[in-house]
Symmetry: C2
């Protein structure tokens, strides 16, 4: 016995809903725009209206993590940016492994949006020997067989999977075996991972399907 109660801290963290975390990223993005536009402070009302949320939701979301505002004043933008970055873990830079050097993979190699938010693709992999060797966009490329060595050597914890659907699960398994803790999967297939590995899937065709549903079921079409 002696383990009847789980530690409170862990419980509290685990209790944060996914939706809250994804809104946190949106708050961060808006805050960065606000600062760039010269704003020193903002409010839950302003932040919410920029994103189509209520002010109560903004405050409630932040309340999961602490107190960041000043009653009567609002939030100091740069202060809140720093706090949200700490919460999300992007107060530091993360090296990322990219697997798959097809069309999509090569595009992601050159995508500027990653660097801006503290991510840098540190190594890229493919099974095709013809696609690896020379660096692309200043990123060194390797055969997939070198995955474990490179991931360990560069202390990489995050990976992006941009391989065909049929190969995605095996690539994920190898990434996990190599010590990766989080995977962003672009292959249009469900990939499973143990619970200590975080998985996020983005299926580009599915995103378009959300649009067609809305267009087809649009109440009024002038």
């Amino acid at each position: 016995m002696g383990e009847t109660h789980k530690p409170k801290a862990t419980l509290a963290e685990g209790a944060v809903p996914k939706a809250v975390v994804s809104r946190l990223s949106l708050y961060l993005r808006e805050l960065q725009h606000l600062v760039r536009d010269g704003n020193e402070t903002t409010s839950s009302t302003q932040l919410g209206s920029l994103l189509g949320f209520t002010d109560a939701q903004v405050r409630k979301d932040l309340a999961y993590f602490g107190q960041f505002g000043y009653p009567g004043i609002g939030y100091r933008c740069t202060e809140l940016i720093d706090a949200v970055k700490r919460i999300l873990g992007t107060d530091r830079s993360w090296p990322v492994a990219l697997v798959g050097l097809g069309n999509l993979g090569r595009a992601l190699l050159g995508y500027r949006g990653f660097q801006n938010q503290g991510f840098s693709i540190a190594a890229a992999f493919d099974v095709d020997p013809q696609k690896v060797g020379p660096a692309i966009e200043n990123v060194p490329t390797f055969h997939l067989d070198e995955l474990a060595a490179v991931v360990a050597g560069k202390k990489i914890k995050l990976a992006i999977v941009a391989v065909p659907a049929a190969a995605a699960q095996e690539v994920a398994d190898r990434l996990i075996a190599a010590g990766i803790d989080g995977i962003l999967n672009f292959a249009p297939v469900t990939v499973t991972a143990p619970s200590n590995v975080s998985m996020v899937g983005v299926d580009l065709a599915i995103e378009l399907e959300q649009l067609t549903f809305n267009v087809v079921n649009q109440p009024s079409k002038s």
Copy 2:
């Protein structure tokens, strides 16, 4: 008066939660895999367990749209695929306009996953005269000034925005003026549209942030 009651049908359609629609796309994807693997029928339990949902959720989601199963039997895969495609509107082919021929835009031009689900990029646009003219991946390219004419001529209703954040809102405005009904936005910025235009945003850096949050807040790290 005489408008006291809104039409029932419209209300029912508007009542479908976003989360249900996105799960519908996941069901479709799994069903297609099941058929490819030789399965003729499936069940809410099987479909759910493939995706990590409960059987009750699968049945409840489908119930928004009708009755598709057979008590004691389950669902005939190809039949349910056809039904879900009809619901999502992907029982036909959709021409899509792509704006922005940077790294990401060009990769999306060659992405095979779109065709597989009934989407085909019918025209691509950029403001840089150097990037347009010759077809890329068999897709004709145009200067953005030709947007309205091409969209009308090809009867395009959906668009993908892959331009820098600073240009995204203006591009969206021009797409909407040209008659586009749905926009998939990859620019890392909130883009607003009138309520009769459907917007879906995908921010690749934000997806990675969901991973870092989980990794940083991982209960146990062996």
